[in-house]
């Protein structure tokens, strides 16, 4: 069925190079692993250190201050639900993965996005890369990550970071491109130094679109983190996997509902920031 003449396995061809990478760059990868694990563990420990009710209270208060009453109530309900389902630890694991991943994604994507809006040649180079990155399904990122970092949280977060960059980058570029030219001109005309123009003029005017980018980044990262439960990332994804593979429907359902709760929480909070930012209406 498969004439040996035509047999060609790029995988077999490339596999040795991955092995080579693994052996030669091992210290580098080990260092990255260590660093990532340290940050994640620290974050997780912080979240789990606070007793659940305390943390819920903190989040509710923060939500109330930053967004509004409805968001605060929703936050309380969602987190309370996770607690009720007996999945507090797993939820916190998932949340810490998402938070750390999004922070790093934004740190990488934001500056590049701003540069892309300023320099069209850079944007032209970056755009096809982003196109490919967004066509490719999420789990593809898991493959190289797992191959290098083995199973566990590290490949999960690395894949998530990479997956979260394109939407944030694209929307950052869009946000800055959409700032009306007259405001940039204003900045020049009043003799504002470039940093002032960025912080005082461009960012405030780009805020709405930037927040949309953040919202997208958060949701996609959550999807990826859940998926990464397949490769030993822990968290709610692992619980779903366990429920599925062992046909423990109760566990699976609880984990699934907890994921819904977390997704709602993150989505409403980030969108709430967006609405809050709307301008005072004209009379």
């Amino acid at each position: 069925m498969n004439p040996s003449i035509l047999q060609f396995s790029p995988g077999a061809f490339l596999a040795p190079s991955v092995d080579w990478l693994n052996t030669n760059f091992h210290p580098l990868f080990a260092a990255i692993s260590y660093l990532v694990e340290a940050v994640l563990s620290g974050f997780e420990a912080a979240l789990l250190f606070v007793p659940p009710y305390g943390l819920i209270a903190i989040v509710v208060v923060l939500a109330f201050v930053a967004v509004g009453l409805r968001a605060a109530i929703l936050a309380g309900l969602c987190l309370g639900f996770c607690l009720l389902m007996g999945l507090w630890t797993a939820s916190m694991q998932t949340l810490s993965l998402v938070t750390v991943a999004v922070l790093i994604s934004v740190l990488i994507a934001f500056p590049i996005g701003v540069l892309c809006s300023r320099y069209k040649t850079l944007e032209a180079m970056v755009r096809p890369v982003l196109d490919v990155m967004q066509t490719v399904p999420p789990w593809v990122y898991l493959i190289p990550a797992v191959m290098i970092f083995s199973l566990g949280r590290v490949p999960a977060i690395i894949a998530t970071i990479v997956y979260g960059i394109p939407p944030m980058l694209r929307l950052t570029t869009l946000a800055f491109n959409q700032v009306p030219k007259e405001f940039i001109e204003l900045g020049s005309a009043i003799g504002a130094p470039p940093r002032s123009v960025l912080w005082k003029i461009e960012i405030p005017l780009a805020k709405q679109t930037l927040l949309v980018g953040l919202n997208q980044c958060i949701l996609l990262s959550l999807a990826m983190v859940v998926l990464a439960g397949l490769v030993g990332a822990g968290g709610l994804g692992a619980e779903v996997t366990r429920g599925l593979t062992r046909m423990e429907m109760g566990l699976g359902l609880r984990a699934g509902l907890a994921i819904v709760a977390v997704a709602l929480l993150l989505d409403r909070l980030s969108r709430g920031l967006l609405d809050r930012d709307r301008l005072p209406k004209a009379k």
Binding site: E185, L186, A189, I190, I201, P280
Partner: protein, 368 residues
């Protein structure tokens, strides 16, 4: 319109042979223009570049309001942006307060823009998420001035434009005219010597426009500032400006006072523009009077000393009134106690009507 005499010797802005060519190959095109004297069409064909401003020279004196008037595409928006180097010239020099803009370091240029040259935009560009006060203080904020101080200055500026009660509102709550006043306050807050105004009143409705034109002129003169004001409306230019430059296709066709332009339009294009302007208040006695000798020749028996008198600055409207009130046929124009000229009804009529079209050169076509 009272005019505070501008100081002819104190030139704040000096433009020398400014050129601006837009396009990828603008440098090469500029070179060709200098060497071969290419026209606009040829530049477009050969280099795919557009000539925005060509060979523009002008001077703005201290305390003077200088209007640049032209239709869309005349290059006036480009020219005003050359004055604070928002656009870099392809050739020529811009000297502000004696300093060459091209020679300034980026930091010095920013300082110049922050402290010496203010700008008001057509679209106002008020930051929507900041209050009126914060917007007015914005220019000071980027200079690093502390909050209490800059707020104080901003409030004073807002008082000057009559918006002191609106300090805590947001731009979205203000009408177009009020927003434009905030823009002006913002420019005034830094106390620059020169204010550049880019068609600030074009987007407003006619009655508000009139009001703002008058207010602006009064305020600028009271504060002793110079202004460069661009507009497509000749009426506005005459109302506001001490001197006017008329632009077409990137070239300054004529520069002068309203009176000079109306009396001596440089070509048929300018003449057509001024045709609709009422000359009653713009033409003065000194432009229509006959010399004493001429008058004595045509009316030898007239006693000049007993004619009704007026000053050289009297406009046609006054002269007509005087002529109708007097029983005689002429008015004597007196300057410093001396009779310098006589205004006859005939010369008055000539002043009202203006020169006829075929006395003038055809509209400049060197750029077609």
């Amino acid at each position: 319109m009272k005019t505070v005499t501008a100081d002819i010797n104190d030139v704040l802005i000096d433009c020398q042979s400014l050129w601006k060519v837009f396009g990828d190959k603008s440098a090469a095109a500029m070179k060709s223009i200098k060497e071969r004297g290419l026209g606009k069409k040829e530049v477009l064909k050969e280099y795919n570049c557009v000539v925005g401003v060509s060979e523009a020279s002008l001077q703005v004196r201290r305390g003077e309001i200088f209007c640049i008037m032209g239709l869309s595409g005349s290059g006036k928006s480009t020219l005003i942006r050359l004055l604070n180097k928002l656009i870099t010239p392809s050739a020529g020099k811009v000297l502000v307060k004696g300093r060459d803009l091209a020679a300034l370091s980026p930091v010095d240029l920013r300082q110049m823009r922050a402290r010496n040259i203010g700008m008001v935009f057509q679209s106002v560009a008020l930051l929507p998420h900041r209050t009126v006060l914060e917007n007015a203080a914005f220019g000071l904020e980027v200079q690093g001035i502390t909050k209490p101080e800059r707020n104080k200055t901003a409030v004073a500026a807002l008082e000057k434009v009559g918006l002191a009660d609106w300090v805590n509102r947001y731009p979205g709550e203000l009408s177009g005219g009020m927003q434009q006043r905030v823009g002006l306050a913002r420019a005034l807050a830094s106390d620059p010597e020169i204010i550049l105004m880019d068609e600030p009143f074009s987007a407003l409705d006619p009655l508000i426009r009139r009001q703002l034109q008058d207010e602006f002129r009064q305020l600028t003169k009271a504060l002793g500032k110079s202004a460069v004001f661009i507009t497509h409306d000749l009426d506005e230019a005459i109302r506001i400006g001490d001197r006017i430059a008329i632009m077409k296709d990137g070239v300054i066709i004529q520069t002068g006072t309203a009176e000079e332009i109306i009396l001596n339009p440089a070509d048929a294009y300018v003449a057509e523009f001024v045709a609709g302007i009422s000359r009653l208040h713009l033409i003065k006695a000194h432009s229509v009077m006959r010399s004493v000798a001429e008058f004595q020749q045509s009316a030898p028996n007239s006693d000049i000393a007993s004619l009704a008198r007026t000053t050289p600055d009297a406009d046609i409207d006054e002269l007509i009134t005087l002529t109708m009130q007097s029983e005689r046929d002429a008015i004597a124009v007196v300057d410093n106690g001396q009779i310098v000229g006589v205004v006859t009804p005939r010369s008055l009529l000539m002043g009202v009507k203006g020169p006829s079209a075929h006395d003038l050169p055809a509209a400049s076509t060197n750029w077609s």
